[in-house]
Amino acid sequence: MKDQTRLISFVSGKGGVGKTSLAVNFAWLCSQVYKTVLIDLDFQNQGATGMMIRKLPSNTCGVFEVLQGACDAKINPGQIDKNLYFVPAISLLNPPNYGVIADTLRSPSLKENLSQYLESVVEQSDFKIVVLDCHGGLDYSSVAAHKLSNDTLVVTEADVVSFNGTLELLEFYEYHDQGVVPPPPEDGQKEALPADDVRGDISVIVNRLPPRYGYSDINRTYTRLLGSYKGELKLKPEVASFIPDESFFSETFGDYPFSTQLAPKSVLARKTQLLLIELLGLTDEQLKQYKPLQKLRKPRFRNKIKTTTLSKESKNIRNVLYAFGWLITAISVGILALILWVIYDAIRTETAVPKLGSAPPPDYTAVIGVILVVTLALTLFYSFRAMLGMIFYYSDRYKFQRAIVHVLGKPITVWQRLALFKLWTLRWGTLLSPIVIGLFVGLYLIVIVVMAIQGKLG
């Protein structure tokens, strides 16, 4: 393999953790800077192949056929975007023979054959980045991919089941790092592995992080756990990225593969962009090639993205809760002051309290006034933040949904039109209703002030 070419594998200890979505979007981002090829190595589920099925010619040759020798390795991968190419797991027209797939995966020459194929693909098309999307779980193609890759990204979730799968996967890799490959079913021979394996760094990505975890706490937890690893693998003790759970993308999963292209400012897109920069060590010049990457030149913004564990929806909900909390406090303080004043008035009139020549009690009305002003100001501040967040959120969602309809190029259905209209209403509603309400309140206050002044003058 050429020295300039970077091989990056996406693996996981169990399926369904969002590995394929991440791999596909990561590959698309890579293609904005380098010529990239995405290869689906998940022969069992073929997730990436399914995602790209609409973009590929039906006679495209798969990796499986190449490994079997049924297809020429020199056949160019299919182009799916400007600088992005794709190789499906299995040819679209080839009905899979599951027995043969199992045999191919257990073949002792799997890694060698894959290495040769990757070399030939890189040589002939001059790819700078190769992204391998592996099967979720313990799988020989995943072992081979890890051995050949400069970076292995283990995608997991913050739960016991995914963590168990991750540990199993690492143990599986360790076992196969000890120099044995699975014997072929027929002869039972064991072969020593060649020593030229890359066996690059292994980084962990925690995907779909629930909003209950703050960055510092969850990072400390994972650093302690990964730091205690004493195996032979080059496992990084720090988690590469914590990606929050966003309904934004899960609702449109499968509609269009490159969601980060359509929503480049979303948390997922920003996290993937940062991962790309950190993994490839992109220079400022390279960052200029794709506009959304430019903002990540600032270390402060990078740190903000790194420490974000909340999706935009969760942030909006939090701001609404804060605004509500402050409003309740302001109302309670006002009502309390009023009740106490009424009680005091009643007592004062019923029992003539002797003054005994003492100084009059200090008046705390000013303090109440300050508290009311502060609480109302904070209510307005958080309402403004929540409102602004919602305006941007619905605006992004509307643009995202419209872009999906646009890129798919299919005639738009009535339901799609209705869904778009709903988002359009929410987008303009969140923007216009606070303005309209603000205008009414302002006008009402002006009228009251004018009437009061007129009353005084009269």
């Binding site: 257990r106 969850i218 007592i347 508290i371």
Partner: protein
């Protein structure tokens, strides 16, 4: 009306209030040990603490009103003082309670997750220490 107030009755009231407060403390302690979700626990705990201290202020106010009713003491009810006290209390509770609740929830959830993941990790280590040959052979 004012002369009918018995000072021992006031003492009794104060004692029963103290009893109530200690019961709340017990309740909070018990709840923190229980197995309800951490965020709910943290929120409920801060709410209970808020009620506890608010009840202390209200109790002081009631006491003050009673004392005001006894002629010749020269004590005046200062309603705005209590409103200001409770108001400031509310502001502090929201100002500290919200971020504190979130932080507590995050810390406790992370600890709980870590404990669970550590269990998984230690099981794997035990399995490794116990030995046994790993194999790729198909059955």
């Amino acid at each position: 009306m004012a002369s009918q107030i018995d000072p021992s009755r006031l003492l009794q009231l104060a004692k029963s209030e103290q009893k109530k407060q200690s019961r709340v403390v017990e309740l909070i302690g018990g709840m923190l040990k229980s197995d309800v979700p951490a965020s709910l626990k943290a929120f409920a705990a801060s709410l209970l603490f808020l009620c506890l201290s608010a009840s202390a202020v209200v109790f002081a106010l009631i006491l003050h009103v009673f004392l005001t009713l006894i002629p010749g003491t020269g004590i005046h009810v200062e309603p705005m003082k209590y409103a200001a006290l409770l108001g400031a209390h509310g502001v502090l509770a929201v100002l500290l309670g919200f971020p504190l609740t979130m932080k507590m929830s995050s810390v406790e959830e992370s600890r709980r997750l870590e404990a669970d993941l550590l269990k998984v990790q230690s099981v794997k280590r035990l399995r490794r220490r116990a030995g046994g040959e790993r194999s790729d052979q198909a059955h």
